[in-house]
Symmetry: C2
Subunit: 463 residues, 2 copies
């Protein structure tokens, strides 16, 4: 019986299907999405109107049958990556800047590293990454991943004058099947533009296809910002970690009000009364029993205000409408934006659009799922939105199977509860389920009004 320890890169190399990289079709798609999502996160977090260039080119001969090698390249005008982090960002699993309590597309610290890993495993090619933070100089590396050690191996270094370009460029060569992946990749770009109508993207396909998504608005939603943890989202392990990070900056009362959201002086008093611990104690000196007591007091306290949603950045009704109109050009469109809610200490908002008719929608219900502005195109039937729709009686809204209806659901949160590492679909948390259902009911009611009016007009015309 021989025991081993494997590194995170080794784990995700062997089990890359857990991250979505199952076959060449899906993997080509996932490569594009991981790169695009990083670029958009970077631009938005800096309040920069995103301009992305996405290209997929055949690497080698077009005579070769699918699957074949493709060079995938994404260049953005975002904030760039500082040189000291550049190689690790792409060459280490679980390395990143998005482990905070803040709304962003990325959250796991492994997306782009998976693309590099997949490319390396299927084509043996290094990745090329270059970035400029200053706009004056850029730095670049040709690198591979040492899968056994979970660290980058730099093969070549580059640097030069950036001539005003600030941002990041990533190029990987992967085994892909563009013929099968094309429609999903194009849908992904379209829905990305729908969710973010302030984005300009140029897409160059393998046969020279030139697809442009020009931004339809200069208005950008406020960037999300980091929030403090909410007491209901904290367990004893986190509490201990927060106390370690606090060191000796102040007493327990200060620690509680400064480290948590929704914990003010009065709340601290009430909490500490219950467990008979003085607010003047040093947090680091609390015994295990006292920590447990504090944790139970927090868990049983019923008067916390709900998690603060001010750090979230929803699309908002106008932007969502503009995006959906642009993509679907429907005959009828209604928006339903819910007030913020929360699950497990994490704030979230649900925004829904229901569209009817127009040149793009086919008969039946087409669902568009967006989470933190990421279009989710796989595993629809496992997703919470699908579950909600299946449990609704749509005939009650005069909806018939021949009606061409689009249902767009956007959820944004400090933490989207994906069920998989590949962010394919969202778990059915009851709070989220409820918000989606209420938003849909609201939108479907207005659709019903429209449909009945439409029928009445059609009826009158006949007579």
């Amino acid at each position: 019986m021989s025991f081993e320890e494997i590194t995170p890169s080794e784990f995700f190399y062997r089990n890359r299907d857990l991250a979505g990289f199952t076959n060449p079709t899906r993997s080509l798609y996932f490569t594009v999405r991981e790169l695009v999502e990083n670029s958009l996160d970077s631009c938005e977090s800096k309040g920069i109107k995103p301009e992305l260039f996405v290209s997929i080119a055949i690497d080698g001969s077009e005579q070769q049958e699918e699957p074949r090698f493709y060079d995938v390249m994404v260049q953005d005008n975002g904030g760039g990556i500082p040189r000291r982090h550049l190689a690790d960002a792409f060459g280490r699993v679980f390395y990143g800047s998005k482990f905070k309590l803040k709304q962003s597309r990325g959250m796991f610290g492994l997306g782009v590293t998976m693309a590099v890993l997949y490319g390396q495993a299927t084509t043996n090619r290094p990745a090329f990454v270059a970035s400029s933070v200053s706009g004056q100089r850029y730095y670049g590396y040709q690198l591979k991943i040492d899968v056994e050690k979970n660290r980058p191996v730099i093969l070549r270094k580059f640097e030069g004058r950036a001539v005003g370009w600030r941002g990041t460029l990533v190029a990987v060569t992967v085994l892909g099947d563009y013929q099968r992946a094309e429609s999903k990749i194009i849908s992904y770009l379209e829905q990305t533009a729908m969710a973010a109508p302030y984005v300009t993207m140029i897409f160059r396909g393998p046969r020279g296809e030139d697809l442009r998504f020009h931004r339809v608005t200069d208005f950008m939603p406020k960037p999300p910002h980091e929030i403090l943890p909410h007491p209901l989202g904290v367990d004893i392990e986190m509490l201990k970690k927060m106390i370690r990070a606090w060191k000796d900056r102040g007493d327990l009362a200060h620690f509680l009000t400064r480290s948590f959201q929704r914990v003010g002086g009065k709340t601290v008093q009430k909490l500490l009364e219950r467990i008979d611990i003085p607010g003047s104690m040093e947090p680091g000196k609390l015994s295990e029993d006292q920590l447990q007591g504090l944790m139970s007091a927090i868990k049983s306290y019923e008067y916390f205000l709900p998690p603060d949603p001010s750090g979230l950045s929803p699309l908002g009704a106008d932007l969502l409408e503009a995006g959906v109109r642009r993509m679907l050009n429907p005959e009828f469109l209604t928006i339903s934006v819910r007030k913020p809610s929360a699950y497990g200490g994490h704030p979230f908002t649900v925004e829904v659009a229901v569209a009817y008719g127009g040149p793009r929608l086919k008969p039946g219900i087409t669902v568009f799922r967006l989470a933190n502005r990421i279009p989710l195109l796989y595993d629809e039937s496992s997703d919470v939105t699908w579950k909600v729709l299946n449990n609704m009686d749509l005939s009650g809204y005069r909806i018939r199977s021949e009606h061409p209806i689009g249902v767009i659901v956007h959820i944004c949160s400090t933490r989207v509860p994906y069920k998989t590492v590949g962010k394919e679909y969202i778990a059915d948390r009851p709070e989220i389920e409820r918000e989606i259902r209420l938003a849909l009911r609201d939108a479907f009611r207005r659709l019903r009004v429209y449909l009945s009016r439409k029928e009445t007009m059609a009826y009158r015309k006949k007579r």
Copy 2:
């Protein structure tokens, strides 16, 4: 912009819902399953008839409402864990003995560590683990996990005379909801006994419930054994790793025949001819280009025998029948065992049972999914078996919605392609889909014969 690296334990602590530990109901279930699966793996790999004692006890007052703290304990008569690995096995993520190419329930090296982590985070209690390999002495630890460093923290050590007990005992305290989880936990134990009728399990529930599953056979299937990788399952990263492990044990021709299954002298000759590399070369001396060439030669070679299934250990028709009879006691039962097949270089077999009637089955189709003898009880509708069933026209087999039918599908493989870290359901690989469909058709045809005979008898009786 601040970059961090997080450890695997930190990643899975924050994202423990990826491993199935979402809420107290599910987490209590997952705690039981991770422990039971480890015990069964250990017994079977040593050819020991498993005897498991599983207990769930309320920790604290029964007055307390759900969710509450539960002490979950599993003790087995397996092979035990050597002392030097004992703490790491339970206190490190990505540490284990099942990273090989061999059929087993475990595969990720994190299952039981997740249970310890979840327990620690929700109850602050340490885990207790004890094991005896010799049957003479046992060693035990009370331990916690250092989440930031991904390593165990030993709080207390124990050792003593094992008095003939060989095996492992694991006890964790977790926040659970037994009321909600009970039916799933009982189903899990029942289906475990169905998949492994040579197992004896005693279950003690929180109110003193005593549930016993006595083995109905002393016959155990041969233990699975490790196999060499198949050329079609290897990519260049693995090839390089295998060459490193080979060191200087022989030339390239020897390396190929000894490191791969289905590669004999003739095959080596044909492969090396295509790329003009002599078999006498040292593998470590191959250049990048030569490695690439070898990889393409392997990928395009069409005459490899399919992956060797001899390492697999299917249930077999007799054992599957015994298990299903015991659990469902159906009026009619038919078994369909497929010949081994393969996906991505991994051999697998599909074994199916279709049951009709009896005291346990309700009207409609109840699906029982088993993978490497693990009952899969969550996310049924996302699973490949469900997809296959939905695409079949069951009325063509005279199956009507009031018929009480059980469909049991067991897949065993050197690598089950789960879609999630929590092993909730299986991805729809086309080869697997096909085997399930053919097995089901076969079984449903025999069910149709039975159903039509039944109708004829009923008709004659009436007259």
